[in-house]
């Protein structure tokens, strides 16, 4: 880990001023940042510790029925907030399927949005990576890329965004509240992360010094609570990043789907919201054919970026299953293995 200056501002405006300095990076829990610093992937000049900023660690259930999640709210606290979990069960399920209990106790909501890709070539500083060194090339292309992107990738970067939390949040129209040197703004989470294009080093729309202060869910998001699931396929039963994941949320009118929300995880450099697939379900009955049709639409533009063609069909199937589970209804209690295909089937002592 390189040497750095450490400061701990006590107000957001102080933090933003310090964060705008060249080489400055915000430190919250550090569960991703310290990992990156230890690997030499990131070498910040200054760490601006935001953990003591007042007011950012609150979950505010708003009068209009929405919720504002302070950027410093810990993953575990959010998932276990009874009102939050009741109204946004797929988000709680996604949170509890991520990382480990220890990491969830530390990691923050804002940090979750800003976690970096798990691409091994990004982490390996001896490999060429356009994210680390714009113009250097991408060693993931032609390398081990079994788990890489199938949507939205470019010849400059085929990495994926690893977040679970962001997947249902994107599906439910979350909005990111930002404060920066130029003031405050709010942008939809769906537009927060950037696809790689020609500039994979620009991962989000944040400008220098901008700080996530909160993430907001609109009141409409809670309307999906009875039919909202997150499903995550992994290479071990727990404590693993997704191979592919999906959030599905349905709002019914009678026995017809009035509105569907779908998002996919670990398929692209952003949480992936296939709105065209959602549209196919409006007014449809919740049956296998409709779900398959939606899944086909969701993956219509998918193409392998390497040895990962299997992820395309896998993603289709996960969309179908997530929709099927959502249609069946949110379980009364969080499954023992959140988001797992094996959720709830084991009873062995």
């Amino acid at each position: 880990m390189n040497r750095f200056e450490y400061i701990r501002p006590v107000t957001v405006s102080e933090a933003v001023a310090a964060g705008a300095a060249p080489g400055s990076t915000y430190l919250a829990a550090g569960t991703n940042l310290l990992d990156l610093m230890k690997g030499g992937v990131t070498r910040p000049v200054q760490l601006v510790d935001i953990t003591r900023l007042p007011g950012l660690d609150r979950i505010e259930h708003l009068e209009d029925g929405g919720v504002r999640i302070g950027a410093l709210v810990r993953n575990a606290d959010l998932a276990h907030d009874p009102a939050f979990a009741r109204r946004f069960p797929s988000i709680a399920e996604a949170l509890l399927s991520g990382a480990s209990a220890q990491l969830r106790n530390a990691a923050t909501a804002g940090g979750n949005l800003l976690q970096r890709t798990r691409c091994a070539y990004f982490y390996d500083t001896a490999s060429a990576c356009n994210k680390r060194h714009p113009g250097a090339g991408c060693d993931a292309i032609g390398g081990d890329n079994r788990l890489h992107a199938i949507l939205g990738w470019s010849e400059h970067c085929i990495a994926t965004h690893p977040s679970d939390f962001c997947v249902p949040m994107t599906a439910l129209d979350a909005v990111v509240e930002i404060e920066g040197p130029q003031g405050r703004r709010a942008i939809p989470l769906e537009q927060f992360h950037r696809l790689p294009g020609d500039n994979p080093e620009r991962e989000t729309v944040l400008d220098r010094g901008e700080l996530i202060t909160a993430i907001r869910l609109p009141p409409e998001a809670a309307a999906f609570a009875p039919h909202a699931r997150y499903l995550k396929v992994r290479e071990r039963t727990s404590y693993a990043f997704a191979v592919v994941s999906a959030a599905a949320a349905l709002r019914f009118e009678g026995d017809v789907i009035a509105e569907a929300r779908i998002a996919l995880g670990s398929v692209a450099l952003t949480p992936w919201r296939p709105r065209s697939a959602e549209a196919t379900l409006a007014g449809a009955r919740p049956d296998a054919a409709a779900f398959r049709h939606a899944a086909d639409a969701a993956l219509a533009d998918a193409r392998p970026s390497g040895d990962n063609a299997f992820k395309i069909e896998l993603a289709r199937r996960i969309v179908v299953r997530a929709l099927t589970l959502a249609a069946a209804g949110t379980p009364a209690r969080m499954p023992a293995l959140p988001a797992s295909p094996f959720a709830g089937v084991m009873t062995h002592a």
């Binding site: 880990m1 490999s127 396929v233 071990r236 996960i318 089937v345």
Partner: protein, 752 residues
Amino acid sequence: MPEIALTQAPAHVRMGSSIGQPLTRREGVLKTTGAARYAADHHPPGMAYAALAVSSIARGRVVALDVAAAKDHPGVIAVMTPANAPKLALDPDAKLHPFMFRLDVLQNDKVRYANQPIAVVVADTLEAATEGAALLAPRYETEPARVGLDGHERFAPQAVGAGRPAEESHGDVEAGLASASRRIETVYETPGQYHNAMEPHAIVAAWDGDTLTIDTPSQGMAFAQDRIAGLFGIEPTAVHIRSPFLGGGFGSKGLISGPQILGIMAARLVGRPVKLVLQRAQMYGPVGHRAPTRQTMRLGADDQGRLTALSHHVHTATSAFDDFVEPAATVSHALYASPAIRTSHEAVRIDTGTPLFMRAPGEAPGSAALESAIDEMAHASGMDPLRFRLANYADVEPISGNPFSSKALRQCYEQGAERFGWSRRPLAPRQMRDEAGMLVGWGMGTATFPAIMFEGHARAVLRRDGTGIVELGAHDMGQGAWTALAQIAADSLGLDLGRIEFRSGTSDLPDAGIAGGSAHTATAGMAIHGAGADVIARLADLATGDSRSPLFGAGNAGVIARGGRLFRRDNEAASESYADILSRAGRDVIEGHGSGRVDPAAQAAYAMHAHGAVFAEVKVDPDFGQVRVTRLVGAFAAGTIVNPHMVRSQYLGGMIWGVSFALHEQAVTDRRSGRVMNANLADYHVPVNADVPSIEAILVEERDIHVNALGIKGVGEIGVTGTAGAIANAVWHATGVRVRSFPITLDRLIEP
């Protein structure tokens, strides 16, 4: 050297111990309170920190290091490179015996594999040393890396594993195949795997003149002592190794590694004690691994389902500069009866750290392939896999024709199958689903591991107060040696466990042999048994030769030692306490010595193996291919069980390694650079708690009067064997898809 306390206060130690009792671990309190000191927990006064810089290329040489940048970092004391590294008394590439592996310890600028050490930075703090190493920014002259099993010249190795011939056979395999009514030929692949003990290799080294004291985890202190002494040109007795606790070894700590030597060199360079701990990523190179294999199985069977031929060919890899060839095929000589069996190995040289013994070396990948192939042959024969195995039950060891010293495999099959409910298994695959719609499959595998012994020595002392000391340089890497060996020690002296002091874990004690090959309890145990017997014999001589003793004249009848007293064998009413015997003889102590080693006559006459049967249930998501092992039952027979508690844990741990082998672990090497791209515990998967929902080990009774006087085989590795195959077979039974490439990841199970 200060005394090492291996166990907690006697308050916790249960009394009345002897072989066979399920005692809890004697070091349990130390390990659960954080008081057990592992190597990296030491911090002698004046200690500096060393950090390795490792190569990012797999082949070539280092042409530049920014030593100045590292030295400029505050706190950096020294940068050790080939330019200033202490010269060694012995070329680290010299190979004086097959177990002397070549080491990369900064004697030149060559790079032979990725993650090879290329410099060491020593600093006052860990942070400074680590960043100093990062600042070296090496530049290389790079040669193309040789990666993978293909595209390189294959050669027939001189020997495989620990010296077994690369090719062995009996009978005529081609004739057997020609006469078979059914034949299969299948190819199985297993990946490179890394031991990944939870404790990274670590050393704290302190020189005092030409005397060296080190804290380092070792599965073989005497070997390490000799290796270090040779490299530094000092006497082995000048090397004091303390290794009371290992945070896992699994073979990777069997021989001292290059990085540990570098820690000693760094201490010499800076004239201070030095601590060097590998980073997790640095364990994927210089400290050994299991090489990948490609195994071709050719089996023939008659119309009764009896094997007519078995051919097992292994294609594997070793390093470009040293030899260790995974002996994956040899398991095929020990397990199933066949009139003709042929095994062969060939290898390629690639740019990798040298492979090494890794838990069940050979047997783990070999058994995965063999058990899969047997399952495929059973299916081809239309037979239940257990019935097929019983039809090919070997009553003598196939390769030698020797009878087994003991073999309770039938009982393992019976008890395991009964407990698992195997008889309800449908013959055809893809017949079972659970209530959630998951595919369910049942598979089995036979477990086997040779019962071997190394050579070990022990010393026992009986004191005038009737208490005893037993000491030897044994190793406890989690298998429970401190408990099991103490139990043997107590019995050997005829004392309760609370009356003996058991000392171990340092190289200053008699060499107990290497802790590997599942041989440590037998080897060290027999040494202890011999030392205790020696003491008792001397004590008996004192008593039976003394007319004042109630045991006078019992020399011919003999005596029995029990509970701190000697009894006349033919009249137990006549007895005398140890204390009284010693006191009357005016002796403060009696010392005895013992050795453990195999009996060559028994070895020539008998085949010695432990056996077991493993039954697995898996559930597979029909759409996603995600697999979970929902039930594992293993039944094992391994001779005398010294401590059922510890043995059960060894079996369970081994079976979990089988789960890992079947479903999880694999090193992913970039085919261009030769670097392991998942050199971390997030991407190199080993099972987590949720991967093992139901697991059970049955200890099948077995008495072996040939293997050694205590009847001990070995239990550390057998659990790995059989299990990987059982799971692969269960996955096939669940899905109808036969995956012949390990690990069985979900992409291989997704049907388009």
